[in-house]
Every structure is written in C-alpha cells, then in structure tokens.
Amino acid sequence: MSQTIAIETRDLCKSFGDVKANDHISLSVPAGTVHGIVGENGAGKSTLLKMLFGFYHPDSGEVLVSGVSQSFTSPSDAMAVGIGMVHQHFMLVEPFTVLENIILGAEGSSKLDDAKGMARAKLLALEEQFGFNLPLDEPVETLSVGVRQRAEILKALYRGAETLILDEPTAVLTPQECVQLFELVSQLRDQGKTVLFVTHKLHEIMAITDNVTVIRAGKTVAERKTAETSSEELAELMVGAKVVRATARDANEATTARLALENVKATGDHGLMLKDINLQVLEGEVLGIAGVAGNGQTELLEIITGLRPVDVGKICFDGETISSPQEMTDPITLRRMGMAHVAEDRLKTGVVESMSARENAILGYQREQEFSRKGLLRLKAIAEKAAGYFESQDVRPRNPDLPIASFSGGNQQKLVIARELAQDPSLMVIGQPTRGVDIGAVTKIHDQITALRNAGKAILVVSADLDELLAISDRIAVMCEGEIVGTLNIEDATETKLGLMMAGNKGEAA
C-alpha cells in the first residue's frame, strides 16, 4: 500500500449557532485504503462529510487533498480534485434513466444525443473495470435501492473520483445488498481508489475498513488500525465513559408489570427494525434502554406510544392490550389511560415550534375538560396552568407568550416534562430526557424521574447517554440491531459490560 495521503483534515471546526458540530476534527486517510468513520447519530459525521465535499465551508481548519490545501466553495470544486460522494439520500432524478442521471452536470455536449453516446462508451469501460452491470436505459424509479446506490457510485467514478465518500451506505440496504456493496468496495480498493466509509454500525467497520476514526460530540476521539482494535473498544470510544452520578433511590420490591411487550416485531421506515422484543417495566422502577443510536430505540418508543403499529406480538399496559397486529390504541386514549410521553425528538413531536409556550404547555391535553369546553379553549385556566409550570420548573425566561422555539432546549424540556407530569401518569415513556439540555437542568430532570419512581410509577427511559442511564435506572436493557441483547440490574451494570452488549455481544446477557 502506498503511503501517500489521499485526504487529510487539520483541526476542522464548524459551528451552527451555539452548537459546535465539528470541534477540531483531524484525520488522515492513506490512498488506496478503506477508512472508516464511526460515531453516533449527531456526533458530527455528516457535517464533516459536507465540508469534505464542499457543501459547507469550515469555520477554521484545513482540508488537504493529496497534500494540497483546498478551499472548496461548492461540490464541483471537490469533484474537480477527485472527491466523489454517495449521499445517504441518493441524489438521483427518479424519472431519468441511469445514463441521464450519470451525465447530469457532466454532459460534455449541449446536444443530449451526442452527450449520451459519448458517455455510454466511457461507462461501458468503467463497468468492465469495476465489475458493474447496470441497466443504463432504465428509469431510476423502477430500480431497487441497491442498484440505485451502484448507479451513484458509477456516477462518482464517471466524474473521475479517486476518493469515494460513502455516507451510511448500508442504512437502506438488505443484507444481501450489503454483501454486494462490500465486494464492490474491496474491488474499488484493489483498483487503487480510496474509500471513506461512514457508519454507526461497528461490525461493518470491522469487516471492511483498514483504519478507523472515532468521532464523539464533534471531536475525533481516536484513530486506530482496524486490525488492532475491537468492536468493544470502538463502542466504548463512541459512547464515552464518564463519572457515574448517583441519585438517592428507595428500595423497590414490586413485581407488578405496568408495561409488557410480548414477542413484538415491528417495521421501521426502512424494513424490519424490531425483531422479537420482550420487555417489562415494573411499578416503581426506571427501565433504561441503552444502545448505539439507530438500533431500534426510536421504533420501540413509537410502538409503545401508539405512533407505529406492531407486525407481530402484543403490548399490554396495566393488563390491557394496547397494541397488537389487529388494533392499535391511539395516543389520546393512551394519555387518558395514564401513559405520558416525553418525545425523543422534541422539536418534531414534543412541541409545535411556532406556537407559544403557553399553548405548548397543554398540547396533547387540549381536549380535556380542564382546558376546553364545547370546543372553546378555557384561556384563563390554560394561562394559570402554564404560569404554574413556569414557576414549579423554573422555566426561563418567565414569559409564556413567547414562541417555544425561542426558549433554550433545557427550558423547552422542563416545560414538556411539567406538562406530562401534571396528568399524574402511571407510566412515563421518555426518549432522550436530557438531549440538548444544559447541565443545570439535567440534575433537576433526573431528580424528577427518581421522585416519580419513588412514588411507585413505572418509567421507561431511552437514552444515548450511558452515564445518564447508569445514574437513574433500576435495570438497563441493551438494544442492538432491533433486538434486546440482554438486561442488567443496576448493581451489575458497568460501562464495559454495557459496551460489550451494545456491540451485539450476547455473552454478557444477565
């Protein structure tokens, strides 16, 4: 393998508002290798890629291609120096044929027939070289996802890409298509191309890459030779290990299950996401769900809260079946039954951004007698309620008239939690309780969860933050690739054990 460096970044930084998406990212990719970039969702991988491909301009730092410093202002600049990218969402025009998609922007002639003729000859040679066999004259919309992806790769090669960036390439593929992709990637490497393989799936990194860079919270935390690391080590590096906080907890001997999932299977937006889930949340306990983001946690929250149907199995809440393949209880009924839901993606499903904090304070409960009568809102009652939440949770600034979007993440979350607590739920389902929440508010939220637990309620918490789960849970179940790998009692749970399980190692299951 040659020692020239295909792509190097030096202290790349990029911020969006107050958020440092990339914070001094440095990495170096030798030519002719497959280089993995791993990190959780939101770790800053996409931002990094967009800078490498000229979509974003870095705030500071440098990108070097074959040792030459570059300043990309658009993707065409990146393409001009031989960088090609296959985006997670394909950049294809669906009614166009494969051939038309490939030549778009690189037609070579203003007459389309001439352009197609020239391209066809060149493409056949490329197909020969790399072992493609694509239906050039079929409209893309008729092709499978795997074939579309190959069309994207061929498109990049046609434009003379020497380095290919593949962004989460397996996210949309079937297992068989993944195998074909891996073969193609090896083929590309054998022919001297450099591949940047970005994923959050560790077994793929182990299977296909030569080197790997781990990114966490916008920073490069490690660079390893794949042969000298393990998926366990990578999992720990991705998630991070910090000091465990302890919150006072009462003893809990209850055995009654508030929530029970029996043999549940469910389909996500890209195929089967939950494979045979069995889970119980008992009275007076916090069950934490750990796992590398994207392993089915979102779908788990959705099936419990009545947002996604199950394909197989059933879900019971206080002994009543709330979801089965035949019927699904809607969220309003679930709320009335005593299930509160703090949504994982706050801005998308937890609040309505453009509405005032006061309106958001009753969202989901606006039909209740307390807040409306005969279709008319009881504005005074609502205002009093909202004011009460602002006081009890110390939401700042103390102005319920402001749109919720103008509050910080922590203050939004405090309001949402107050709203859900106010109905005295017997089961609380919480996704990412402290994501985007400032440190001060984190402790308060954790204390409230513990208080709820001590009052005998059942709480299910999905979190990407292991420290958080270790601090507040009674038991932690670990998910990997749509399955519960195992469940640990808090006394037995350690970072290392959880890390192993998050990498899919069932040996540690308790």
Binding site: F53, F55, Y56, S74, P75, S76, M79, M85, H87, H89, M91, L92, V93, E94, P95, F96, E100, N101, I103, L104, G105, A106, E107, S109, S110, K111, L112, D113, A115
Partner: protein, 323 residues
Amino acid sequence: MEFFTDLILLLDSTLRTATPLVLAGLAGLIAERSGIVDIGLEGKMLAAAFAAAAAAAVTGSPWAGLGAGIGASVALALLHGWVSIAQRGNQIVSGMAINIAVAGLAPTLANFWFRKGGQTPLLDDEARFSAITLPFADALADVPLLGGLYSELLSGHNLITYLTAAIVPLVAWMLYKTRFGLRLRAVGENPEAVDTAGISVTLLRYQAMIITGVLCGFAGTVLSTGLGGGFIRDMSAGKGYLALAAMIFGRWKPVPTLLACLLFGFVDALQGRLQGVDLPLIGEIPVQFTIMLPYVLTVVILAGFAGRMQAPKASGIPYEKDH
C-alpha cells in the same frame, strides 16, 4: 357542403383562440418543469397585452408592441422568480399578487395615458399582426376539399399563430434533446441532485422564468395586437388559468399540452358558434350557458384527471441548501 364549411370555420377559429393558450401553456410548463409553480400566467399575459397594444398605438409598429409585451412579461416573470428563488416565498401568493396587481394597473395606466376608459386606442392594420394570406390561397380556394382546408383553415392567421406552430416543436426539442432541457427537467424533480452535480439551481430557475416570460409575452401580444385591435380591460379573461389547466391535463409535456389547448380552443370556438343558434330539439341555448362551456370543461377535466397526474416533484417547493 354547408356542414363542411361550418366545420372549417370552427377549426379555423379554434386555431386562433388556441394560440395564446398554447403559448401560455408552454410558459407554465417551462416554469413548473424548473420547479416553480406559476399561477401568474394570467397577469403576465394581461400585462403583455397592455404593453404591446400601448407601444403599438404610440409607435405604429407591431414589432415595437411585441418587444414591449415581452419586456413587460419578462419583468414580471423575474419578479416572480425573485420571490420564489431568492426569497423562497409562497409561489401561489406571488402569482396571485401579480395577477391582481396587473388587472388593476393595466386599465389605470391605459386611462392615464390614453383617456379612453381603460382601453388603448383601436390599432390600425399596420400596427397589428394582421392576417397573412398564404401564397396561392386565393387561387386554390375553389379546389374542392383541400383548397378549402388550405385557404380557409391554414391561411389567414396572424404571424404569431404561425410562430406558435414552430415554437411547440422547438420547446419539445429543447426539453428532451438538449443539455439545458435535461438540467431543467432535473431541477424540477430533484434540485439537490442538480446542486450536488455542480450546477446552479438558482441560475437554472431564473433562466426558466425568462423563457416563461418570453412565451407569456407572445401570448399577451397576440391577444391585443393579433386577435384583437387593442387592449381592453380583463381581455385575458382567465386564459392564463385555462392554460395552466391544459398544461396539467397535458401532463407537463409539450405535445399533449398543445392538444389540450386545442381542445380548450375548440370548445371556446364552439361556444362562440352556438350563441344565438337554434339547435334541433334543444332550441336556443342562453348565451350565459354557452360562455360557461370552456370553464365547465376545465373543472371536469381537472376533477376527473388531475388527481392522477404526476407533477414535477419539486414543483412549488423553494430550494433550501442547508437542512
């Protein structure tokens, strides 16, 4: 033989009324293929009709009229483009605003300049695109069947109608056989793909709006200086909306759009012929009902077929790079 003559006259009148529809339909097609919904075809057409009639009245030249018509229409198209592309505004609101503004502004300006109650002065024949008699049309008029077809149906239209006959294949060629057409079709479907391919979405869409403006300019000019002899208030009479309907019925494709426009033109010509005619069995249809025909057809067609039509995917959605 009388039926045949009637039919020829009906078709002749179809070609005439369809001319502005076809031009506006193609204008809408180019806009939507680039991803911009243009409900302002009506306003652009009306503005062009006024500008063309005014310029022709002042200069005495139909060519000056055409230039002014195209200029006015392109200016409005660029305004719509600026709102839609640069400001990422609501395209329907922008289009409606243009329609309403022009409907009020044109008669006001006409009144201010010409003091004829919101109209422009009646144009002389030299200041209009008047009927062109094709070679030998008179000589061949007496040849049975074909002679009538040639001299009555094909001969005797204005220059812009003949131009339109050439513009349809030109637009189709541009759309399907040129690099520009490929990019135009792509940007209306998936602007992100165009952007990542290193082509400017903004530039492409502005180019499309200019073409839309030029075509609407022709459409408006033919209204006031070809078919009519001057500008009168609201003379576009909903033709911009009809053209939009025809374009949808024509599935955003040039030739089917042409056919849809001819259908609308035919129905419009038919309603003109039916006025005051005593039909067997039914008797005379009140004029209010016959005038409704093209619009009823629009509703029926759009209700019956439009649901199944696949519009360009990105049509009407402002392109935002970062999200």
